[in-house]
Amino acid sequence: MRVTTLVAETTARDVPEGRHVIAVLDQSGDTRLVWDPENRDDVKTAKKMFDDLKAKGYVAYAVEQKEARGKVVTKFDPAAQKLIMTPPLRGG
């Protein structure tokens, strides 16, 4: 439970109010791009990052902040508050 509290604080610190985030799973845990949906340059940067990763086979999931269940996103949606991009799964 202590860790959960820490996570809540970390999340609140990393994503300010009104900002959207793309979390890319990688070796460092995850790399987060926090961007302002009102800013054209930010949207452009986020879209480029999204498209580049999709070209590499990453899968994007839109996860709402208050709803745990997500959905697969195939095209960049500036309205998505939180995107998690994962490398493709492989059978092991």
Binding site: M1, V3, T4, L6, V7, T10, T11, A23, L25, D26, Q27, S28, G29, D30, V59, Y61, V63, A68, R69, G70, K71, V72, I84, T86, P87, P88, L89, R90, G91, G92
Partner: protein
């Protein structure tokens, strides 16, 4: 001068080596040299081991200091890697806890596993335990909790918690793709279709 150690044969299929320790005592320095194995007969075990001794290397004080410096560098790199891994796993755990709902989070904290309802309605148990890792850690279970099949599909090169996050999202959002990707370690694909 090379030393040849010839093995003794009982038959073509059974072979007994004797250890020529009395010969080895005559070798001044067995620690420095090269062993070669040469096939000398028509059968697969008929070979002769040859040891060619070489002069013992002499290390200077500078060599010793250089080796110590390299060892220290290796220790620092290992510590750095360990710290990076620790931070990465903390971040990954934070993300995993973000995507889990309250019930799943409680399951994860208490039992190192959590249940997921797939997008097609099947029920899965993701074993999120360090001892299990990400190999064959996704169980297809019925409503009573009985394991119907064991599946394995995961991204590579990620901290464990990130892999469990990816598995959870894939199952909830695109179950069919997960099933198409996964290897079945126990159970069968027809059982999955019928479930």
């Amino acid at each position: 001068m090379p030393y040849n150690f010839t093995p003794t044969y009982c038959s073509t299929n059974t072979l007994t080596f004797y250890t020529p320790t009395y010969l080895m005592t005559n070798v001044t320095n067995l620690s420095y040299g090269t062993w070669t194995s040469q096939l000398v007969g028509p059968y697969q075990f008929q070979y002769v081991d040859t040891f060619v001794p070489q002069p013992r290397p002499v290390y200077s004080h500078e060599d010793f200091l250089e080796r110590e410096r390299l060892a220290q560098h290796a220790r620092e790199q290992a510590a750095l890697h360990q710290e990076k891994t620790r931070v990465a796993r903390f971040r990954a755990r934070s993300l995993l806890l973000e995507v889990l709902d309250d019930h799943q989070r409680r399951e994860y904290d208490e039992h190192k596993r959590f249940h997921v309802r797939g997008s097609r309605g099947r029920r899965y148990c993701v074993v999120a335990d360090d001892r299990v890792g990400v190999v064959a850690n996704v169980n297809v279970v019925d409503e009573a909790g009985k394991v119907l099949a064991v599946l394995c599909a995961h991204p590579s090169g990620l901290p464990l918690e990130d892999s469990w996050t990816a598995q959870k999202l894939a199952l909830e959002c695109d179950e069919e793709l997960f099933l198409a990707t996964a290897n079945v370690h126990r159970g069968a694909v027809p059982a999955l279709v019928a479930a």
